[in-house]
Symmetry: none
Subunit: 113 residues, 2 copies
């Protein structure tokens, strides 16, 4: 639905939120830990997490007093598919991307936590 795409793209338009997604790529995190590297209030980060949740890009689950944030890549896939509709831009970069995967993935499996 077009409404979903609105939310997903709007969520991705903020660098703080993209950074959060990148962090969550490594591991699930508590809200406080997500907020730690950013130079803004915890409330501000909490709002960003709300936007990401509303867009379906992450999910949040409360365990005790800690709320865990988890990446939900499916929402990104919808947006990705929309962009694929524009086709035409596959050749160069996806090749390079595959090479990147081939060279970097093995190393990542033993990476730092």
């Amino acid at each position: 639905m077009t409404r979903d795409l609105d939310q997903v793209f709007a969520a991705l338009a903020d660098p703080t939120r993209r950074a959060i997604l990148t962090m969550l790529l490594e591991d699930d995190m508590a809200v406080t830990d997500v907020a730690e590297p950013f130079e803004m209030s915890l409330a501000a980060v909490s709002k960003h997490l709300g936007v990401l949740t509303a867009a379906g890009l992450i999910s949040q689950e409360k365990h005790g007093r800690v709320k865990w944030c988890k990446l939900e890549p499916d929402a990104l896939r919808a947006a990705s598919v929309w962009m694929q509709g524009f086709g035409q831009f596959e050749p160069v970069n996806l090749d390079a991307f595959e090479r990147f995967l081939a060279t970097e993935l093995p190393d990542a499996s033993g990476g730092d936590r």
Copy 2:
């Protein structure tokens, strides 16, 4: 650059602008013709086209008194590659991923005369 992604994703977050991009997929169009199917003023559509141009998603070229709008898929490529990172990865070397993005996305906004 992360600034470019901000603009591209923000531009894509509006359904009118996505519709415009879809129209331009078929063919280049003049501003007035782009505006025709929308129930808003020509000035509003002109602003949307300005946003798309600033994001590098389209280019505009004036011929006589008509300004032609043309899809520029390169800017989409940057965003697409960024998103690919989330669908395909499990835990991964993010520093390397950032380096990959830096080298593979030279200057997507290069069309700015």
